[in-house]
Symmetry: C2
Subunit: 395 residues, 2 copies
């Protein structure tokens, strides 16, 4: 019999996808260059030449059976070593390859991490605003996602709400910094305070509350932002990473879980990931991609356009009187709409071919998200449209 | 808190992996050419040149952001169309791209297929001998795997046992033809009878019993074997495929679920796969691999060595008085051991540097599996050793 739970999920269409489809259709009418599509978080910068060169070299020089053969169930050794070395050098950690589990992007990483530290029926906390796919990742493990309300002034953490919501059912707290959709990075003070609360509550309830750190935007950090490495603040941290954004490789599904070597169960967590994979059919990420990324994992695509775009948009928004917190990284910004309903605001913006996403689905009603992973020239033209829109509709 | 279920799974070490590790260690002592390692099902033939050429062409010519960008959540359109066309041409089916869901190999395919047609607590039947990873795929979906005893004379289906074991809790039956570990392909008569029983029992219990067909060895079929396409016999079939063996790409994790267009729920099953992926973190298989395989999905690596090897081994086994059914495909053969305990038999064979796997873990105690995806020259030398072993130990 067809599974009714999955079937019932088919009704709910993604707002982002609907907007993106609208933008594509509208682009066919008026030319795609005239549609200012800020809906999708798809990287807009070239993949580093070194990645492409290494892929071609592997294909030309390596024995095909080794190159495309099964990787060990806990991952390619060269990849794991390269990741550990890169993280140690950049963040002063002491990972060994045995602490790295290769995954199919951050989605694979979070799905494994949640299963590692929970059992069905447990609760996982995340902070608004948050990436809506956290829902399925967590319910897919049989757990309940509970969302801690946002600190709307700075989009750091609402600690009062956090303290109230941690109970003995909470086994993990999931953070995302720099954050999709707000663009905000948690600063040193925030991470210190988070660590101290998690230690205190772990002691109070007699079990470790793990910190799951989703950090695909870790390498997209802007000037002046205080965006330290999360795992340095709290030993019981599993860092979930994807190269989707830093190397512009979202379709190739490559990332990892990095287990803090001082974490509870640090010696068994990666082998347990292998067991979790067996039940979900995950297996390893593709062999050739692991091998190529091993060579370039310390570098990034040229990410500077995102900061350029952010500054243009931020300045325009401020000039137009929007309420907005300046992003510390990512390629998102989340201003407050100019009327109570962000859905209504975004609907009106569409008349100006400005495609924004209401942040209601991210747990921030009244706000909207702009993904500025697009050409700077287009951002500049979009700002003219935005100015026109605001002046005509809201003045 | 660390998940105790996954932690407890760490104790059980895979027999195959242990043997393979032993073979590697032994190879370092006496030279790997002198270790006759029949333990691992790792393809031993070159990837088709056309695949490598297409990969290089994509890397050299395509825009990197399109090439490596997110694929649609239900898969790359070109890949889905190519698969549907290839299956239709070769097997007289009428798949559309909407019936194809790209997965990370057969593991991903089976994991999705099981979740499609069951809910936690249901039962799934498989037939001995069977691939031991079916256990985790099925329990990972919250269901119970029940194993129908083998028909030990021909390794077709023991229909009497099947009929007895189908109850109202059974929502799916999982077959694997050509079969790992026996090498046997289900013939027309077997598939007709299976179809007729499933129809009858579906009617009796008032719900569809789905047929999940795991067929990574579909393209490795030997002369004279009657090995028809499973889905032609039973409408409610989900075919689970991997290119691991046919294109020698096991590390690249590329396969699909193909939904029979006449299947119950055929219009919703692929979209539901997209929902299932969200909860397991599966996402799509890698973008570049989908695109390259789309170009070569109708071809195979040169698989003829497997049949050559099989004939050499089969003739030797018969000559030495083994009880063995001649494989119709794959790169496995499963003879009966020359003493009651196959574990003991394989332990003794190790003294001759012959690495065989006891089939106890496959649900066929007293038998052993030989994976002959190795060079023919080495197979020939192994047969000399096998003859010596049998004569010295069992005569």
């Amino acid at each position: 019999m067809i599974n009714e739970t999955y079937k019932s999920m088919l009704g709910a269409k993604s707002v982002i996808r609907e907007l993106s489809e609208y933008a594509t259709a509208r682009g066919k009418e008026i030319g795609y260059e005239n549609v200012f599509d800020f809906s999708l978080g798809n990287p807009s910068v070239e993949v580093p030449r070194e990645f492409t060169d290494e892929m071609i070299r592997l294909l030309q020089e390596e024995d095909t059976m080794t190159l495309h053969g099964y990787t060990p169930s806990l991952g390619n050794a060269m990849y794991k070593e390269a990741i550990a070395r890169s993280l140690n050098e950049r963040f002063g950690m002491n990972y060994g390859p045995e602490h790295i589990f290769p995954t199919t992007g951050a989605a694979g990483a979070i799905s494994h991490a949640v299963r590692e530290v929970t059992k069905p029926g447990d609760e996982v906390l995340a902070f608004a605003p948050y990436f809506p796919e956290y829902g399925p990742y967590i319910t897919g493990a049989g757990c309940e996602l509970r969302v801690v309300p946002a600190d709307m002034s700075s989009f750091q953490i609402n600690f009062e709400a956090l303290s109230e919501m941690i109970s003995d059912k909470v086994m993990a707290v999931l953070v995302n910094t720099p954050n999709n959709p707000s663009g905000i990075a948690y600063n040193t003070q925030t991470l210190e305070k988070l660590s101290s609360i998690l230690k205190e509550k772990s002691a109070e309830y007699g079990h470790t509350i793990f910190l799951l750190s989703d950090e695909p935007y870790r390498e997209i950090v802007f000037e002046g932002a205080d965006a330290p490495y999360v795992s340095r603040f709290y030993d019981n941290t599993l860092s979930c990473y994807s190269f989707s954004k830093s190397l512009s490789l979202p379709g190739e599904r490559i990332g990892y879980v990095a287990v803090n070597p001082a974490c509870e169960g640090a010696d068994v967590i990666v082998p347990m990931c292998g067991q979790i994979s067996r039940g979900t059919g995950h297996n390893c990420p593709p062999s050739i991609i692991q091998q190529a990324v091993a060579k370039v994992c310390g570098m990034t695509a040229d990410l500077s356009v995102y900061e350029t775009n952010m500054n243009i948009i931020y300045d325009t928004l401020m000039d137009l009187g929007f309420t907005v917190v300046k992003p510390g990284g990512t390629f998102y910004i989340m201003p407050k709409a100019l009327e109570e309903s962000a859905v209504e605001f975004c609907r009106k913006a569409k008349n100006y071919d400005l495609i924004f996403v209401p942040a209601d689905g991210f747990g921030a009603p009244g706000y909207f998200r702009m993904a500025y992973c697009i050409d700077t020239e287009k951002v500049e033209r979009a700002m003219v449209k935005l100015r026109q829109f605001v002046q005509e509709v809201y003045r």
